[in-house]
């Protein structure tokens, strides 16, 4: 009896030890992250003002702002979304609902999963070769957006497939049993019921793309831009212009990199402030993803 009590005490001690170790590990991660964010905020927060958003970069740190950077980021995201969403969703639907399940689709599936893990600079090189040199899109918003679209395409495809897989087969059978074609089933059921999951995947993809620097630098984004791309709407005929697609650009992460690499301390403050803005953009997107997922989960429970 005494032996057993001893044994139990020892087992419990091990249990307790891991509890302490686990707590410490969790704490180290959290504390570091918190310290990083706190440091960023303490350094950069005072610099954030309307003027900071409305000014171009400048030689004088106190006059420099992120206007061209955030506009560039916004436009790039727009191109990325427009390119990656239709392609990724269509591919995901095809693979789940249309493609026959055989060794070929298995290989495609494995490769898409692998593509999601390819270093982003490789996508940059691909985009440089394809969009800049081959299609001659130049070092433009279009090229940058398409490069990031390639980067998040596997994520969008995988999110689409996951979301579609969550739809029970009984729903498909119910639709087919009424004489629906594949496309009718996809259009009336598969797409509406998987929208939540697909949107969540897209936003998470975009929030990864927004912070990417390597592929954007590779395709030749500029680090110092003191002008905005051509506005997409104008007062003259034909009112809508797509010239902005071919304008040079910069984005938030590049602007931050540019400022950090300067020797003056004041520029580092700018970098911290821009970092806060970028962080907030990402957090907002993630919050949107969580909200959308919550909304759709509430609406459709299988």
């Amino acid at each position: 009896m005494k032996d057993i009590k001893k044994r139990i005490a020892f087992n419990k001690f091990k249990d307790y030890s891991f509890r302490v170790l686990g707590l410490l590990s969790t704490f180290v991660g959290l504390a570091l992250l918190f310290a990083l964010i706190a440091d960023l905020f303490m350094e950069g927060a005072p610099r954030i003002s309307y003027k900071f958003f409305a000014s171009f970069p400048s030689r004088f740190p106190e006059e420099a702002g992120i206007l061209s950077a955030w506009v560039g980021t916004l436009l790039i995201m727009l191109v990325t979304a427009f390119a990656a969403i239709p392609l990724g969703v269509a591919a995901g639907i095809y693979l789940e609902e249309y493609a026959k399940k055989n060794w070929l689709t298995d290989i495609i599936e494995i490769n898409i999963a692998n593509l999601a893990g390819v270093p982003s600079i490789i996508y940059g090189l691909l985009a440089l070769g394809m969009f800049v040199y081959f299609f001659k899109f130049g070092e433009s918003v279009l090229t940058g957006g398409l490069a990031l679209a390639l980067l998040i395409l596997p994520m969008v495809i995988m999110a689409t497939r996951e979301a579609i897989r969550a739809i029970p087969n009984s729903i498909r059978e119910a639709s087919y049993a009424l004489g629906a074609t594949k496309w009718q089933t996809v259009w009336w059921h598969i797409i509406p019921y998987s929208t939540g999951g697909i949107l969540t995947g897209i936003i998470i993809g975009l929030s990864r793309a927004i912070g990417e620097t390597a592929p954007i630098i590779t395709v030749g984004a500029l680090t110092f831009i003191a002008f905005l791309p051509t506005p997409p709407v104008s007062s003259d005929f034909p009112f809508i212009s797509f010239k902005w697609l071919f304008d040079p650009f910069t984005v938030m992460p590049i602007q931050i990199f540019n400022w950090v690499s300067r020797p003056q301390q004041e520029f580092h403050v700018n970098a911290a402030a821009a970092g806060i803005v970028l962080l907030c953009m990402t957090l907002l997107m993630n919050a949107a993803a969580i909200y959308i997922r919550y909304r759709f989960r509430k609406k459709i429970k299988w």
């Binding site: 059978e173 119910a174 004489g179 019921y193």
Partner: protein, 259 residues
């Protein structure tokens, strides 16, 4: 075995064989389906009754490696509905199905019933409204849902959901209605409502029902086929099957000695 009945036929399977890949799961099935009667398929799990039922609206065509041999003829046009030259969609438009578990779409009650018409390209709201009401009345659900047609179908109870699925299947005026163990997921009250409904519906439509529940077969059907290992062992009027089965195996099954 070949069987003949002295009634108008709606359909008839002749030497039907069915294969899931290499698995030969229906063997020379011959069965007449009487017009505007309820034909029940009974038998132990895995005997092929659901497989047989799903041949009637070509559900097997949705999955690879499935193969039919033989004929299922529908009357009066004497069309072999499992012939490869017949489009399964054309068959499914005429032969509806109600599944084992209620499977309404996560849409409004109205949209669930309207779906079959939408698939057929019906756009006129008046026509759809009319069909929705008629089908919901037909499935004895109208009074319970008429004030909340725009609510989600998921708000309904299990039994109501199954009646909604029946309304959905009725909306397109099917020639044959297939029921695949429609009450196996429901409580006794909901079950008896569905059974009453089936008896009611046979005045207008030919019904084939697969059931695990022998009392149910005895209550609702006019004809019963007992299946075992992919074959029809016995087929006859329901009264006859349950009171004086001619096959030993049938007798053992209906008295609960196996299955």
């Amino acid at each position: 075995m070949t069987v003949t009945i002295s009634e108008d036929l709606k359909a008839e399977s002749k030497n039907l064989n069915f294969y899931y890949g290499a698995l030969h799961s229906l063997k020379n099935v011959n069965l007449p389906i009487a017009r505007r009667r309820v034909t029940a398929l009974i038998g132990p799990s895995g005997c092929g009754k659901t497989t047989f039922l799903r041949c009637f609206n070509r559900m097997h065509d949705l999955y690879p490696h499935n193969r039919y041999e033989g004929e299922i003829i529908i009357y009066p046009e004497k069309l072999n509905i499992i012939s490869p030259s017949v489009d399964p969609i054309e068959i499914r438009m005429q032969i509806s199905m109600v599944f084992q578990k209620p499977n309404p779409f996560p849409k409004s009650i109205y949209e669930n019933v309207a779906y079959g018409l939408r698939v057929r390209g019906v756009k006129k709201k008046g026509l759809i409204d009319e069909a929705v009401e008629k089908s919901l009345r037909g499935s004895a659900l109208w009074d319970e849902v008429k004030d909340r047609l725009n609510n989600s179908a998921f708000d309904l109870s299990g039994g109501q959901q199954q009646r909604l699925c029946i309304a959905r299947a009725l909306a397109t005026d099917p020639r044959i209605l297939l029921f695949d163990e429609p009450t196996s997921a429901l409580d006794p009250t909901a079950t008896s409502k569905i059974e009453e409904l089936i008896i009611e519906l046979k005045n207008e439509v030919t019904i084939i029902i697969v059931t695990h529940n022998m009392q149910q077969a005895a209550r609702v059907s006019d004809y019963t086929a007992f299946m075992y290992l992919g074959e029809i062992i016995e087929f006859d009027k329901t009264d006859k099957i349950f009171t004086a089965p001619s096959n030993k195996l049938t007798e053992e099954y209906i008295t609960g000695r196996f299955g």
